[in-house]
Symmetry: C2
Subunit: 193 residues, 2 copies
DNA sequence: GATTATATTGACCGATCAGTCAATGTGAAG
DNA sequence: CTTCACATTGACTGATCGGTCAATATAATC
């Protein structure tokens, strides 16, 4: 199987898992929708869980690239970019196929802490908070780590509520809280945009 | 089937669904664990989805009773009770069997907006925000509805992160943000505990 | 063009899925 | 004690689950 074929398989599997859920999506459906026989799939992924892990790796890469790039496009300063995250989220919530966060859902369906899927889902969140902390540091926050964790809190809350309510308004609500946090946590430092 | 037997069945099914997930829990397992034959279960619940709906009704009632009572026990004033929610959440996160929010997980596994399970899961969150808004009003908040939505945001974010990270620290982080919100949104009104 | 190594396949495995049915057990009314 | 309405059961359905295997197609090597 060529590398491009393999990538396409993972991308199509991602859509199926994202739309229908992990347990609810059978490997027969994956085979049918990708046009690759089940035997071939199992030649490249030893188990369904391994395919899911590959899907999560792709999602992690794509989502990170998209979010961080969008934050940079929307603002010039570190603190502006932190706040712009919620504008980016709002755009995401408004997309047609939006169905919540794939990692939250993966963690919800594979709850065992020893499960590799569970661990990988949380690793995505740790990667996010690291990025936030980096930005917060450059923004001159009093406590960059604490601020980053609070931003993650707001982001996850907004995603969950947006997915459950089928509305994008949580993004703006989260941003208003985030603005307050930034204003509070950067007191005494430069606050210019 | 007596009312108590039925209630016990739902309670045991709740534990199974909460621990293993909805799709991952088969009706044969429910029958085995409850000691009630599958035929009998289907005499009282026409489909698995109806059993899940009954489970969610029980969870809604139990969680609401527990949370609201705990908030009242931990504080005397409306605004104190709002902040005490996060102390109650921390207690929950530290419980042995904590596995996240059942409604978030239900919404994640049944994503179709037309699905009754999806709708009922969101109804639970609307019930919560109504209660928060009521407390915020009595606390003299400038914009009770906005404050209630922000509290929901923090609560859902804290639950998701606590479940994914297998740690209770998100509760304190959310409370610190909530304190800032209360201090900010109640400016000009009484702020005594 | 023959040989060989590798991809790919449809058919199949036992287990489990949600849900059903004929048969049996049970308790109250007569 | 009999009857009758109803609750409960184990065994079963066709479909689907994750995963496998012998056979075939394909492509590279000589």
């Amino acid at each position: 199987m060529s590398q491009s074929k393999r990538a396409e398989l993972i991308r199509k599997a991602l859509l199926l898992f994202y739309r229908n859920g992990f347990h609810a999506t059978g490997m027969d459906l994956v085979a049918k929708e990708t046009g690759v026989s089940k035997t071939s799939i199992y030649k490249h992924f030893r188990t369904k869980d391994e395919l899911i892990l590959a899907v999560l790796r792709l999602r992690d890469e794509e989502f990170r690239n998209w979010l961080f790039r969008r934050m940079e496009e929307l603002a010039d300063t570190p603190q502006g970019q932190l706040l712009a995250m919620f504008d980016a989220l709002e755009e995401w919530f408004l997309e047609d196929g939006f169905k919540g966060c794939m990692f939250i859902k993966a963690s919800a369906e594979f709850q065992n802490p020893d499960d590799a899927i569970n661990a990988q889902a949380y690793a995505h969140k740790r990667m996010l908070v690291d990025h936030f902390e980096n930005l917060a540091t450059h923004a001159g926050a009093e406590n960059p780590h604490a601020l980053a964790r609070q931003f993650l809190l707001l982001k996850e809350g907004a995603i969950v509520i947006a997915a459950m309510s089928h509305s994008e308004s949580a993004a703006r609500e989260a941003k208003s809280v985030a603005s307050l946090l930034v204003a509070s946590g950067l007191v005494g430092t430069q606050r210019t945009a």
